[in-house]
């Protein structure tokens, strides 16, 4: 190769060499700029983060957008616990503008961590209680249980299935109810008795209710299950009677809230979401879509609920300090069931 041409190519390559490095650096910097720019979103967008059980129909979303001029985006973030914890982990730059689905078992944690701008507003409630299979007890000629104290009676040995309080909010609700019912020093004894009476512990509500409970679709082996006071309304048979009924004590009232997140990019939009969730138009969908009672007085509830879903007279839930005590309860519970 003639020297001169080689030298020229040499120099060309040299400048290409530098060009590549400068190009690479430029790409890195450009990427960082893009990141900063895309971090912000359009002001018309408003994001509502919810737990996984939240349902809002497309029609309702459209109607919200039309009424308010905002563009509503829904984001699901696990069960109520994961939802709250994720919001705490990201609280400097919240992942949404408003939150629905923090319940009274997590509300104090949310407040303590300063997640909410203003207050949490109650939207709906449900009652966690035991259901029993009326047909099973009739067929076995055993009187059905009347109280959670019956569950530790040897007559009902091996008949009850309930959810693990470490993994299920339904299970945690009942654990909290026993703390309130029996007191901070005696509730452990009740659970030891439950254990000796051979209760089955499932991971979640689905497994307990849909698989192991004898009174529902799974036709399982256990005629007593921890579920909701409204569940009997979904077990009405062709004779017009519900196959199941609730035990009316030891119940826990679960209340769910909506709130504006502190640091929201669109606080005005978030307030509009809160208002919409409390409107009669949305409140009336709670029973059918989420199996919860609307908080709004006078909002319609299904006929089957008034007929078959007895609301327990005495419920717990208001006075318990979940933030401080949850870990101690669960540790003590684990020690019993380990």
């Amino acid at each position: 190769m003639p020297r001169a041409i080689s030298q020229e190519r040499h120099t060309m390559k040299k400048s290409r060499n530098s060009a590549i490095f400068i190009g690479a650096i430029t790409i890195i910097i450009a990427a960082l700029v893009v990141v900063l720019v895309t971090g912000s979103s359009k002001i018309k967008d408003v994001t509502l983060v919810t737990h996984d059980s939240f349902v809002m129909t497309k029609d309702q979303v459209a109607s919200f957008d039309k009424e308010t001029g905002y563009n509503l985006k829904l984001l699901k973030a696990g069960d109520a616990g994961s939802l709250t914890n994720r919001l705490i982990l990201t609280k400097g730059a919240p992942i949404a503008d408003a939150v629905f689905g923090i319940d009274n078992t997590f509300a104090s944690l949310a407040t303590k961590n300063g997640l909410i701008d203003g207050n949490l507003t109650a939207t709906d409630f449900g009652v966690v209680s035991f259901n029993f299979d009326k047909l099973w007890f009739a067929a076995h000629k055993i009187a059905p249980p009347r109280s959670i104290l019956d569950l530790v009676n040897p007559k009902y040995k091996g008949l009850t299935v309930l959810e693990n309080p470490k993994l299920s909010s339904t299970g945690l609700s009942f654990l909290a109810a026993t703390v309130a019912e029996f007191g901070a020093n005696s509730w452990q004894k009740y659970w030891e008795d439950l254990k000796s009476n051979q209760v089955k512990i499932d991971n979640g509500w689905e497994a307990a209710y849909n698989t192991d409970f004898s009174g529902s679709a799974g036709k399982g082996k256990y005629p007593i299950v921890l579920s909701y006071s409204t569940s009997p309304a979904d077990e009405v048979r062709s004779n017009g009677q519900s196959q199941t009924a609730s035990i009316l004590d030891g119940s826990f009232k679960q209340t769910e809230y909506v709130g504006v997140l502190k640091g929201a990019k669109n606080p005005a939009g978030a307030k509009a979401v809160v208002k919409f969730l409390l409107s009669p138009e949305f409140q009336k969908t709670f029973p059918d879509l989420m199996y919860m009672y609307p908080i709004l007085q006078g909002a319609p509830i299904p006929d089957s609920w008034s007929k078959f879903a007895d609301i327990p007279t005495k419920t717990y839930g208001d006075t318990l300090d979940f933030t401080n005590d949850r870990k101690a309860w669960l540790d003590a519970w684990s020690a019993i069931f380990a």
Partner: protein, 519 residues
């Protein structure tokens, strides 16, 4: 003039090194140290040595050890039949046993969940570990086995030693390096098998990674998380350093198809061949076929309905977006990860070949020894607020993934580059070509295969990545693995059917990408 030019070159290199070090320092080392720093107050030591931490550490180690042992035992006859003898269909079997290694852990977990009714969680976790890794081990051992001659074993046979005796007294010793390399690599993968344990495990089978996740997202116990992150990182980093010590590149065998001076099989080889066939059919084809088969059925009937539901977001709209949307997100993330990690990875490789400071390489290699779960959590904690709110950008997941993929590129490409005959460089320098001409004209073309292999790994790993994405990708940015996990966390035939259909897509995808390596 030349002196001035080389000064300019030096300056450019120095500037690029500095930029890369700052980049890795800010994006990789900062989040890891911040996460561990969360625990630094009173109670750290007590938490670090708590019985619970001891328990999960011990579980992580023994399930990985047991799996590794099983993998090495199963891989041995397979390595023999695929690399020491010759019979029809070998290449196909080699491809098939590689496939499980390229599947996302979450898909493997889902494949094994249907057996939960019959087996305990721990049995299935071990089975899933073995399923994913035995093919990799067989190939690492086989490639070395093939390269050693038969003189010593023949001599031993002449002395009247039986086959097993010959294996344990001669071959096993010749292969100890390969066994160590395969063993440490499989151990590393089994100690960081987040998706498998999260899906198949229960209260009694918690690994370090799943405990990190649960304590961060469900219990919000960040002191405990920090201690677990420290233990997990020390464990995987030391395994990673052990892997690096025992093999120049443990990933190369996957791209190695070199054939084959082996002799035709004899009658006494039949047990090994039969074993290989049995494992391939029973342990690879059957489970994968079962996922595809069940994906094509709903309610007992053959139907496409699971696939057509991928347009929806699950029963009761349990997902924020449709599966198809999540698939597109995953493809997009993989494409961006590919550009970033191949670009920066090759840049670092070039710089490393032209510097005296080889130890700099370690700084960019270490991320491969860190669990993506740790990195994802670190990103969440570090980049949520402050001057650099990276987390709220959709680029966060591909960037986090790239940090783990860049070292992978180095692992695959550097050994190949260093393997190039140095005489080539000398003669190129005689011709007057400089480092970058030599790089583009000689080095890059010669390692095309390694670059293709790196591309395959990047795309497959990025599509299936779950540990980091589970912290960083949600809402309309969810990826296919993260929506898969959401689907199977919500029981019901519809969600499960959709999870199977999406898994089928990922299996077909991995198979398609793998077939590229045959090119």
């Amino acid at each position: 003039m030349p002196g001035q030019q080389s000064l300019l070159k030096q300056r450019t290199h120095l500037f690029t090194w500095a930029a890369l070090l700052i980049l890795f320092g800010a994006l990789f080392y900062q989040p890891i140290f911040r996460t561990i720093g969360l625990g630094f107050h009173h109670g750290f030591i007590k938490d670090l040595f708590s019985s619970d931490n001891f328990q999960v550490t011990w579980f992580t180690i023994w399930q990985a050890l047991l799996s590794t042992g099983l993998v090495l035992v199963i891989a041995t006859p397979i390595a023999y039949s695929l690399y020491k003898i010759r019979f029809r269909g070998q290449s196909l079997i080699t491809v098939l046993i590689t496939l499980p290694f390229l599947l996302p852990t979450i898909v493997v977990g889902i494949g094994f969940t249907s057996l939960l009714q019959h087996s305990s969680a721990i049995t299935l976790i071990i089975a899933a570990n073995v399923f994913m890794n035995f093919g990799l081990a067989a190939r690492i051992i086989g490639v070395t086995w093939q390269s050693i001659g038969n003189e010593e074993t023949d001599a031993a046979a002449l002395d009247g030693a039986g086959r097993l005796k010959t294996f344990f007294h001669v071959t096993a010793i010749q292969l100890r390096g390969a066994y160590a390399a395969a063993g440490f690599l499989v151990f590393l993968y089994c100690a960081a098998n987040f998706g498998i344990i999260l899906v198949l495990g229960n209260e009694n089978t918690k690994s370090l990674e799943t405990s990190i996740y649960i304590n961060a997202v469900e219990n919000l116990d960040l002191t405990k998380v920090a201690t677990l992150v420290l233990i997990q990182s020390l464990l995987t980093l030391s395994l990673f350093l052990a892997v690096s010590k025992f093999s120049r590149s443990s990933f190369a065998p996957i791209g190695y198809w070199g054939r084959n001076k082996a002799k035709n099989y004899e009658v006494r080889d039949l047990p090994a061949i039969l074993f290989t066939l049995l494992v391939t059919v029973g342990f690879v084809i059957a489970p994968l076929f079962s996922i595809v088969w069940r994906a094509l059925h709903f309610d007992g009937h053959a139907t496409w309905s699971n696939f057509s539901r991928l347009r929806s977001s699950g029963a009761r709209d349990v997902l924020s977006i449709s599966i198809n949307h999540a698939l597109m997100n995953s493809v997009r993330n993989a494409a961006i990860s590919l550009v970033i990690s191949l670009g920066i990875g090759l840049l670092i490789a070039f710089l490393l070949l032209n510097t005296r400071f080889q130890h700099l390489g370690l700084i960019f290699q270490l991320p491969l020894g860190i669990s993506p779960v740790v990195l994802g959590l670190g990103f969440l904690i570090t980049f949520t607020d402050g001057i650099f709110p990276l987390r709220s950008s959709w680029l966060v997941t591909p960037i986090a993934q790239s940090l783990v993929l860049i070292p992978l590129v180095l692992q695959i490409v550097l050994p190949a580059l260093r393997g190039i005959d140095s005489e080539l460089k000398d003669s190129a320098e005689m011709d007057g070509s400089d480092a970058s001409t030599y790089w583009w004209m000689i080095q890059v073309p010669l390692v095309k295969k390694a670059i293709l292999l790196a591309t395959i790994y990047i795309v497959v790993v990025s599509m299936g990545e779950f540990g980091a994405a589970n912290f960083l990708s949600y809402g309309d940015q969810a990826t296919l693995p993260t929506v898969l996990y959401q689907l199977i966390s919500h029981p019901g035939a519809i969600n499960y059917g959709m999870a199977l259909a999406a898994s089928t897509i990922l299996i077909v995808f991995a198979g398609g990408v793998l077939s590229l390596s045959l090119l």
